[in-house]
């Protein structure tokens, strides 16, 4: 009986290690992209349970050119630096804002022009950044929007007028809180904001016309990994030339925002 159980467990574990989402790496030919899987339209899970999105499809196209195997590794956003430094992932490719992090990573050329915006309830009487005085504003932990609001040279003085800057882990929770009224506004990237508002499709949310700032997305590599960065960067430009880049941008509704020359 005991032996039976043990061999069952053994078999189970074996299968699992092969299948598991925490799977094994170690293959030189793998290109491991770390991304936030709760960040549509850049990276998310589709109806079939597959990871997809604008960034991941670009990565897939590059892997096809280079003959690499793409490994899509969802990461916890707070741990992105640990994952990159320890070599668990080759790059961070996830609607990743360059501004404010210029010296922290080896960057590709910027490929998306992005703004940080404020989303509010359509029924709330908030029409400009000045109306946010005394309000509770939600922002994702370790996000670009947070660093904009904390930077004295950018929107720190605005953030000081808020009643509270409420940090949260993911956008779904933030929108639930906005809907419930426990936060008055959310600061976030415009692309993500558009996706969230469109897919909720209930006319409850609007983006303020005044933006917090303008910034750019790039692919972040470890500082000592410029060789891989250069390869991927050159491939990215090839995708732009052959039209793949613009086709994908259109597919994900980002045509107005892409900026790769």
């Amino acid at each position: 009986m005991k032996k039976k159980i043990l061999s069952l467990v053994g078999l189970f574990t074996g299968c699992l290690l092969l299948l598991s989402g925490c799977g094994a790496k170690g293959d030189e030919n793998n290109f491991v992209v770390g991304f936030d899987a709760e960040y549509p339209p850049y990276g998310y899970m589709d109806d079939n349970g597959e990871y997809t999105g604008f960034d991941l499809e670009l990565a897939e196209a590059i892997c096809e050119m280079e003959g690499w195997t793409l490994v899509k590794q969802p990461i916890v956003w707070d741990n992105k630096d640990n994952e990159l430094n320890s070599g668990s992932i080759d790059c961070i490719w996830s609607g990743f804002t360059i501004d404010g992090r210029e010296d922290d990573y080896a960057w590709s050329d910027p490929y998306v022009d992005n703004s940080q915006v404020i989303v509010v309830s359509a029924s709330a009487n908030i029409h400009s950044l000045a109306d946010l005085e005394g309000k509770t504003v939600g922002v994702q932990t370790a996000s670009a929007a947070l660093s904009v609001l904390e930077d004295p040279d950018q929107q720190r003085s605005l953030a000081d007028t808020f009643k509270k800057l409420q940090e949260f882990g993911d956008y779904n929770t933030a929108f639930a809180e906005l809907e419930a009224g426990s936060v008055d506004a959310i600061a976030m990237d415009i692309g993500v904001a558009q996706y969230q508002i469109e897919s909720r499709d209930n006319g409850n949310f609007i983006i303020l016309d005044e933006h917090l700032n303008s910034e750019q997305y790039g692919i972040g590599f470890a500082l000592d990994n410029t060789q891989l960065r250069d390869t991927v960067n050159a491939d990215l430009h090839k995708l732009k030339e052959n039209g793949t880049f613009d086709t994908l941008a259109e597919k994900y509704g980002l045509s107005d925002m892409v900026c790769l020359e």
């Binding site: 899987a37 969802p74 668990s88």
Partner: protein, 215 residues
Amino acid sequence: MSFQVILSQLASGMLLTISIFVLTLLFSMPLGFFVAFGRMANNKVIRFLTQLYISVMRGTPLMLQLMVVYFFPWYLFHISLGSFWRFPAIILGFTINYAAYFAEIYRSGIEAIPKGQYEAAKLLGYTKAQTFLRIILPQVIKIILPAVTNEVITLVKDTSLAYTLSCIEMFSVAKQIAAAETSMLPFAVAALFYYLFNLLVSLGMNRLEKKMSYY
């Protein structure tokens, strides 16, 4: 998105959740015995070290311990283990944490047995090993079962902490589907899964308790 689609997507995460659960129990329950014996050892050094181990494991968050286990090879020795280390690190982290709790549960059971039974066994010519295995242990198991059930049920829910190391177990999948669909329904399905899983665990443990109530 229908209930069935959500369920089928969650299935891959469930497999991972269940395997974290099974492997953690498999390793931590026996390890807990060694820790319990260390905790009750006559040797002062061993006793002190196990006491320190238990107090650190119980005194710091499991989430933090998981991060330490996964990232220490790089930050301490600059060894890059890559993604390969992810799953083993999770199992190791859970195991050393739960072993500490199990050790204290075992100790509570072992120390509940009156001294007189050891003396009686000695008088009847039992060796130390025989005394423990044939007389003490069966009673200990009976005493500790409710406390062990508590811990096992906690483990089912704690598996969601594996998300810290970017292991996409069931709760992480639920969060990802919720993000892509901008819906809260996946969380309801996740809650149902945890509840049914724990219902099975407690039913199983109840049966075991009944089986053990032979005196």
